[in-house]
């Protein structure tokens, strides 16, 4: 594994040394291809699977009876239909918030404590790993976020409004960067999230392993860092704003093939 990571770093640095923008993009595509059999995300995925099947928490129970929307215990193909409405909580929930629900109901963890824990710390690291595992169980499947329940349709409309909400010192909205095709920030290509940006792009790529900082990022962390760069205040973990944006992006990306957990620059 170490050798592979060193190779990534080497390729990344040689990629940065290339003179032309198109060469750089071609180089990034090339090293992504070379890495597809050795994506470090798989380590997190394996850790997540082990967490899922290991008795933990005050109730010393596993996550195996967790209902991710397709019935208790069904992990396969659940991710591509999230976020969705759950009758037991009366909420539309995304993957990470649903995992927390199961950690509370099945294992007896303290919800408030998990929500307050920082990214990749304590039980949040476990939420990350389990999210990566569940996402991996939908590999190559098409995104199919439901709009059957009234609350799912309401969350789409809320997500759309948040997506276009300009504010803060830079007047940025999500839409500032993600509402047109074929645009870039510096050399970074920007997916157009107002429609289906294509298989494995945008919504269909997260959770993803980020080569640049060596971190595994689930969607909650991805959105958190978008809002940081947008110069907004911080979105709370699993808040309705983040879930509504997930519904908006997911419904727009209908039929895009999920490659999560992906590998990113």
């Amino acid at each position: 594994m170490k050798r592979k990571l060193a190779l990534v770093a080497l390729l990344a640095s040689s990629v940065m040394g290339l003179a032309h923008a198109n060469d750089v993009e071609a180089g990034i595509a090339q090293y992504r291809e070379m890495l597809q059999d050795g994506n470090p995300a798989e380590l997190f995925e394996m850790a997540g699977e082990e967490l899922w099947t290991t008795p933990r928490g005050p109730k010393n129970a596993t996550m195996e009876k967790c209902d991710l929307g397709k019935g208790p215990g069904v992990v396969a193909a659940a991710f591509v239909e999230l976020p969705r409405y759950f009758a037991d909580t009366g909420r539309v929930q995304d993957l990470e918030s649903r995992i927390v629900t199961c950690m509370v109901s099945l294992q007896g963890f303290d919800e408030a404590k998990i929500l307050k824990t920082g990214y990749a710390k304590g039980e949040q690291a476990n939420v990350r790993d389990m999210a990566t595992y569940v996402a991996g169980a939908s590999r190559e499947l098409k995104i199919n976020v439901p709009q059957d329940h009234q609350k799912e349709r309401e969350m789409y409309e809320v997500g759309k409004r948040l997506f276009f909400m300009r504010s803060g010192p830079h007047d940025f909205a999500c839409a500032t960067c993600h509402a047109e095709d074929n645009k870039r920030i510096r050399l970074q290509g920007l997916p157009n999230l107002t429609g289906n940006p294509g298989d494995g792009i945008g919504f269909a790529a997260w959770p993803a392993y980020r080569v640049g900082n060596g971190q595994m990022w689930p969607m909650q962390k991805r959105l958190n860092d978008c809002y940081r760069q947008q110069r907004f205040p911080e979105p709370k973990f699993a808040s309705d704003a983040t879930i509504a944006l997930g519904v908006y992006m997911g419904v727009n990306a209908k039929d895009a093939k999920s490659i999560a957990p992906a590998i990113k620059r």
Binding site: A19, H20, A21, Q150, R153, E154, Y156, E157, V158, K160, R161, L162, F164, M165, R166, S167, G168, P169, H170, D171, F172, A173, A175, T176, C177, A179, E180, N182, K183, R184, I185, R186, L187, L190, R228, Q229, R231, F232, P233, E234, P235, K236, S239, D240, A241, T242, A244
Partner: protein, 216 residues
């Protein structure tokens, strides 16, 4: 009158279909969004929740995007007129600073996030969206290319009367881009205090000084 009825029916059917597909009126969705927004964010560092309060220009431009249609011409004109009034012209009458300093400001995308300290010197974020000098190949494409900005506009002496209109427009555009385009995506660099007056002068020089690499 009879001829109009079928059209009215078609209209009513479309409205009904619209309601069925969303199950929520636009006004109710706006209200719900306000509630969700109020409950979902927390102040962190210098990025306080007050940043979520939109001014009139942002509120109107965001709503137009949600509706998927541009602002009415008179509404856009009113925004532009109001934004134009916010522009502060250089206090000493000098528009251009140092183009080399301007390049550094254009390169930097730092500042104003929740990780940044309040006293941090902000960058202009310019290269994130614009091509500027030929030497920098890592540039974004959200904004138009600014390569040869002054040269293409015939600026040979920025202090000359001939260059006055371009120089003033460029200053105004940097200070508050929305004085000229109501819903421009460009940050209101001066108006929102992203860059100081002295920094804006340096960026002006980067764009307009005939000696700047931009104009070679």
């Amino acid at each position: 009158m009879k001829k109009i009825i079928p059209f009215a029916l078609v209209g009513a059917t479309l409205v009904l279909a619209g309601c069925m597909s969303t199950s929520i009126s636009s006004a109710d969705a706006d209200k719900l969004t306000a509630e969700v927004t109020a409950n979902s964010f927390q102040s962190k560092g210098i990025a306080k929740v007050e940043r979520l309060q939109q001014d009139e220009a942002n509120r109107l431009c965001s709503a137009a995007n949600v509706a998927g249609k541009p602002l009415a011409a008179d509404v856009a004109a009113a925004i532009e007129a109001a934004q134009l009034k916010t522009i502060q012209w250089p206090t000493d009458g000098k528009f251009l600073g140092d183009h080399a300093k301007g390049e550094k400001i254009a390169q930097s995308g730092k500042g104003l996030t929740w990780k940044d300290k309040a006293d941090r010197v902000n960058g202009g974020n310019c290269y994130n969206c614009h091509q500027i000098s030929k030497e920098e190949v890592s540039y974004g494409t959200l904004g138009p290319s600014l390569y040869n900005y002054g040269k293409l506009r015939g600026v040979t002496d920025p202090n000359s009367p001939a260059a006055k209109a371009v120089v003033e427009y460029t200053w105004g555009k940097l200070w508050n881009a929305r004085a000229y385009n109501a819903c421009s995506n460009m940050p209101r660099v001066g108006h929102n205090g992203i860059l100081t007056e002295a920094q804006i002068k340096d960026v002006m020089a980067l764009l307009l000084d005939p000696q700047s690499p931009v104009n070679q």
